[in-house]
């Protein structure tokens, strides 16, 4: 597995060990890109900061919390309304964001007094919200404000409120990943074990590392409930503050994003003996296997099998309709961290696309290890890519589509590579059986866009077919399909609703009896 040095990075040879090509017959032992090292300044890296990793990625999806950043207004403004983590609390966490508005005088004389004033003002403005998270920023960290002390003082004066303090300034670590770690540890240190939940089932889990992007958590929550499992808390998408304080009472931690939230699972195991079970909510196979694993733990595997059978029967013909049309399409799988390995193998197995490149902005070597193991031979793997390397890579691997963030997506657009938003999704949720079909549908719609076809035409040179008023997606996708696939009566394109979350809203679940469960810690 040879290291790959991009032409554009020949002048910074230390970049060489950050990219490898997965050669034939080679193993990870031959080479693994370096990861989670300090960024080389001036490269135009895509990394964010530890503040955003803590506040924006993990903190803010908590739905019943005043999220206040102690610093100048920019950190708050810039991270506000740039994500799609929804909640059943009228999206309070998306609609409202708070900043202490630190000014020069506060830098000089300290900002603890005005922080206290801020906290009281915020609770006064939002009388129905009794929880708060205070996020430190670069500025408040450097002037040394004691945020914990201020929070403690307010909690003593206002007994009906509870405040969590997250000290994760932007400069803390090479990327947002440092912030993931800090907020995980801060939460378990400060809050877990301070609230006693109501246990309503014999099988109780925390669902960890799930951020409810476009409703992923709602979909997964439904499967757990259909198995009679109580989801005590979700860390943190659609998660309630008090529920998360009660994480210590679960029998099992079911971990989705191991990049951003394995830390708290490991601590829960250490401190409370709660086992950790890693799962994948993406893709028919991995999702089915994941539900079975969870069910096996509790000795209720038949319940998982029933869901798998029902969902597969409902959605398989639709997934396969897309897979038949996406076969061999080349994908750059360029997300932030965990989707690199969540998706690498299963989009190949189930959508039939080929992963020709993987990258991670803030992942560690372990993420790369999993991602490379799961992607196609010949794929180019890049750690902490920068603008020029991304372009060079696209030129090199000639992808049909790229899964990445919004802004890099705009770069890809200009070289006429369509993008899907790997962080926020296009038309998600993408978890669950139906979600996976929605993902396939989004890929198909991007790859076979008639406008994309037109974008490649140079009217000054190319022949212009003058007898064509339109082209449908199927005129593009079905042209080389065998007759039996093209006209299959088994397969069909997606039949779900634009808003597929509405059906979960007032859904009720039958009570399920306990059965002997040898593996359960209950």
């Amino acid at each position: 597995m040879p290291y790959h040095l991009f032409k554009c990075s020949e002048c910074i040879p230390e970049r060489k060990e950050h990219a490898v090509i997965k050669g034939p017959g080679e193993t990870l032992a031959d080479a693994l890109p370096l990861g989670y090292l300090n960024t080389i300044p001036g490269t135009i890296s895509e990394r964010g900061c530890a503040y955003c990793g803590a506040k924006h990625v993990i903190g803010t999806p908590m739905k019943d919390v005043i999220h206040i950043s102690h610093g100048p207004v920019g950190c708050t403004y810039d991270t506000w309304q740039t994500k799609r983590y929804i909640s059943d609390n009228d999206n309070f966490q998306i609609k409202y964001t708070f900043a202490t508005d630190m000014k020069e005088k506060h830098i000089v004389f300290g900002a603890e007094k005005m922080l206290k004033q801020n906290i009281i003002e915020a609770f006064t403005a939002m009388p129905h919200i009794k929880h708060m998270t205070i996020y430190q920023t670069c500025a408040s960290a450097l002037i040394g404000d004691d945020i914990n002390a201020v929070a403690q003082e307010v909690m003593e004066e206002m007994p009906d409120v509870d405040i969590f303090v997250c000290n994760s300034p932007g400069f803390g670590g090479p990327s947002q990943s440092g912030g993931h770690h800090k907020i995980n540890i801060a939460w378990i240190n400060q809050k877990v074990g301070t609230f006693e939940p109501k246990i309503t089932s014999d099988y109780v889990i925390n669902y960890v590392g799930e951020y409810n992007i476009q409703g992923d958590q709602v979909v997964m929550d439904d499967y757990f409930k259909r198995m009679g499992i109580q989801v005590l808390s979700t860390f943190t998408g659609n998660g309630g503050y008090d529920d998360l304080r009660a994480m210590h009472r679960a029998h099992l931690n079911v971990l989705e994003c191991a990049r951003s939230a394995e830390y708290i699972c490991n601590e829960l195991r250490k401190r409370y003996g709660t086992p950790r079970l890693d799962i994948d909510g993406f893709g028919f196979g991995p999702l089915g296997a994941s539900l079975r694993k969870v069910a096996l733990f509790f000795g209720i595997e038949d319940r998982a099998k029933q869901i798998i059978a029902e969902e597969t029967a409902r959605w398989k013909p639709e997934l396969d309709w897309y897979a038949a049309r996406l076969e061999g399409k080349k994908v750059c799988l360029w997300p932030g961290g965990s989707k690199l390995w969540h998706w690498a193998h299963v989009i190949h197995d189930e959508m039939k696309v080929d992963v020709v490149s993987v990258y991670t902005k803030f992942g560690h070597q372990g993420d790369m290890e999993k991602g490379i193991a799961r992607c196609e031979e010949g794929a180019l793997a890049i750690d902490d890519p920068n603008e020029l390397e991304g372009l060079e890579a696209m030129d090199m691997v000639q992808p049909d589509i790229i899964f990445t963030g919004k802004r890099p997506g705009e770069v890809a657009k200009k070289v006429r590579v369509p993008y899907l938003n790997a962080h926020a999704y296009h038309n998600g949720p993408w978890k669950g059986w139906e979600g996976w079909v929605r993902f396939a549908r989004d890929v198909y719609n991007a790859v076979y866009s008639p406008i994309l076809e037109l974008a490649k035409r140079d009217i000054s040179k190319d022949e212009i077919p003058t007898d064509q008023g339109f082209v449908t997606r199927r005129m593009l996708s079905d042209v080389n399909l065998p007759e039996e696939v093209r006209n299959s009566t088994e397969l069909r394109p997606y039949t779900g609703e634009f808003d597929n979350l509405a059906c979960y809203k007032d859904k009720t679940y039958p009570l399920m009896e306990k059965r002997p469960a040898p593996g359960a810690a209950a």
Partner: protein, 462 residues
Amino acid sequence: MTCELMERPRAGVINPIFTCQPAGAQFVSIGIKDCIGIVHGGQGCVMFVRLIFSQHFKESFELASSSVHEDGAVFGACGRVEQAVDVLLMRYPHVKVVPIISTCSTEVIGDDIDGVVTKLNNGLLKEKYPGREVHLIPIHTPSFVGSMITGYDVAMRDIVAYFAKKTAPSGKLNVFTGWVNPGDVTAIKHLLAAMGIEATVLFEIEAFDAPMMPSGNHVAHGETTIADIEGTANAVGTMALSRYEGGKAAAYLEKEFGLPTIIGPTPIGIRNTDTFLAHLRTLTGKPIPETLVRERGVAIDALTDLTHMFFADKRVAIYGNPDLVIGLAEFCIDLEMQPALLLLGDDNTNYQKDPRIKALKENVDWDMEIVTNADFWELEDRVKNKGLKLDLILGHSKGRFISIDYNIPMVRVGFPTYDRAGMFRHPVVGYAGAIWLAEQMANALFADMEYKHVREWSLNMW
């Protein structure tokens, strides 16, 4: 029945209207050709600003970070700037201009970016890049001072001051647009062309609306050249469209080179566009041509169809960049509307002295409030808890949930407007902008009437 000017009474911000200074400096940076700014601070200060530019323009812009980590925060991070400059210059051989933009963290730790620039000029640039034209320009934009507005103003002044060089008179007029959209620049250039005025427009950002080409070009970038900025010293005068975004640069040129200078008002609406043309005539001696009389007539005709039938007495709240907000308020008043609340998102004390605000205070005959250092809660709290009745909101996308949750129609205007398609493409300035704005407002009101079934039948015939 008064117009009151007040400051946000609370210490904190609930839903900010503005971001901080470095964002304004970054907006200036992307307007200059062969320029990539380095933001000296944590990586988020760049990553998120690039994100919001891409949300607004649906384009990606190049900006670099010095990527300050813990060690830099503790021991000083000037070395990170040195490395960033070198890496950037090596990998982007076309780059000539590199603003070094400070942030709160690097100002607090006291990194001497001016000293770094001197060191690099005398060391790295001479030794490693001899013969290459490179301009390193320190820009001090601590996030705890001012806002994105002052960041733009300061960065533009510092860059103009760095380059402006008196040589031979160019006969051109400087036109400083302020923080606008590509559509605005097109509209301004159209008016200048109609007047037969040769101008240096700072900044040339029409190319922010970049095409997808068969050749696969990939970078949207501004087109103002070093020569353009150098030449500002040789102009016949300066017309700054915005008092708070570019006013400092205009004042600098006036003081340093004695250029005849007019600052504002922003040509939003008919009256302010008339004033703009009158100012152009004053500065250049060129007459206002018949074509513009006609163009103006088309706009007046369009507004007459709407104003007293639909707009009269409609109550509107406006927030965003100060010159934009004030210009919109003035235009709305000409359209017989009643601006009820203006929100200016920073604590600039000059707002009190702004003649346009003084005029509002003296002449408005309905209840109106102007809040400085404002946040969105100043609007939402009034609507939710204090009985403020509004017919329309004008402002950028960050305030969208107030419109959505309280069922108040809203026209997206300003920066950023990511939740509506293509807003950056349309002007709010000039006669074209007056038509666009008025018709957007009317159509928003019409859609609202239909959605709520309120007098929707009246649109059958008008």
